[in-house]
């Protein structure tokens, strides 16, 4: 057999041509709703975490440094501004709460079994999401302690 014959054979094959692909539509929805990792929610904790750490280091442990003083005076200035005063509960309670919810949904799955009238809660072992959830919760608890929301 000549090389050209092989080429002709390859070119004239009756190839499988998937016409209708029913699963194409079914795959599209989960594909596009595939959530990126909820770890991105971590950045929402940055501001409250900095403040919490500053308070702990400065007032609870009695440490002193110019860096802590700068942070303290920055947030004290914000605290003194009447407009920002309204934002403080949102920043220190609202954002960590949001982080908690996002991460909770990443490791907890809720399924309603209608036949048995049951709500099945499955907890996935996702250490990072669980750790972020607990950290966000501790930040909220910290700021809910008396006298923590003002400098």
């Amino acid at each position: 057999m000549k090389k050209e014959d092989i080429e002709t054979k390859l070119s004239s094959m009756d190839l499988p041509q998937p016409g209708n692909i029913p699963h194409q539509k079914e795959l599209k929805i989960p594909l596009l709703s595939y959530k990126r990792s909820s770890r991105v929610g971590l950045w929402l904790l940055v501001v409250p975490a900095i403040v919490a750490v500053t308070i702990v280091l400065k007032y609870e442990l009695g440490l002193s440094s110019s860096f802590l003083d700068i942070i303290q005076s920055f947030f004290a200035a914000i605290d003194g501004n009447s407009f920002f005063t309204y934002l403080i509960p949102f920043i220190f309670i609202g954002l960590p709460l949001l982080v908690m919810i996002v991460n909770l949904l990443a490791f907890c799955h809720f399924t309603v079994v209608e036949e048995r009238k049951e709500l099945v809660v499955t907890i996935k072992y996702r250490p990072l999401n669980i750790a972020i959830f607990l950290f966000a919760m501790s930040v909220i608890l910290f700021f809910l302690l008396p006298d923590k929301l003002s400098f």
């Binding site: 090389k3 092989i6 080429e7 094959m13 041509q17 699963h23 194409q24 989960p30 594909l31």
Partner: protein, 186 residues
């Protein structure tokens, strides 16, 4: 479809990726199915290809080269993994399964669809015979032969998809055909 414009829209609204999916899923699934001749593997590899493309669409820069070529490249890499390992692991699909507990390739219509595809494939005996010979070749020959003869891509397009020089593609194509000839004659 103006792909350049669509890519810009995807940057601000990732869900617009659905338009690329609608336009090209058939090409990619068809390509993978022809190469594997296996419905389940094709389904997994095509889904993995689009998941990877969806996750990495931000890295694709428009240079007057269709996204389809990029999708072919991702699919080809996945096919290489499939052919080079006994147990193919679609990483992104597995991650979704582990993290969210869902198998996005578990379609309601999967069983009926598989039967239809397999029945259709069995009718194409000549294709199956040649495809078996192609599958025995080194991956580098399989890639160029299938893109040329299964997907009817030009040498230039194959070079773009595989990131190789046109001369290299021509040479691989010629040597791949020689190998098939040897198999038939031997």
């Amino acid at each position: 479809m103006n792909e350049e414009q669509l890519l810009a829209e995807i940057e601000s609204d990732p869900r617009k990726f659905g338009e690329l999916y609608e336009a090209y899923y058939k090409n990619i699934f068809g390509y993978v199915f022809r190469r594997t001749a296996n419905y389940d593997a094709a389904k997994d590899i095509a889904a993995e290809t689009f998941l990877k493309a969806y996750a990495g669409i931000g890295k694709f820069k428009w240079r007057n080269i269709s996204v389809l070529h990029w999708l072919y490249r991702i699919a080809t890499n996945e096919l290489n993994k499939y052919f080079n390992s006994r147990a193919y692991q679609p990483v992104s699909l597995q991650r979704i399964h582990e993290e969210y507990g869902i198998d996005i390739t578990d379609y309601a219509t999967a069983e009926t669809e598989r039967t239809e595809f397999e029945e259709d494939l069995e009718k194409r005996r000549e294709f199956l015979k040649i495809n078996d010979q192609v599958k025995r070749l080194d991956t580098k020959y399989q890639e160029v032969i299938t893109l040329r003869f299964y997907e009817q891509k030009s040498i230039k397009e194959i070079a773009l998809i595989l990131g190789k020089k046109e001369g290299t593609v021509k040479s691989l194509l010629s040597r791949g055909i020689d190998r098939i000839k040897e198999t038939i004659e031997g």
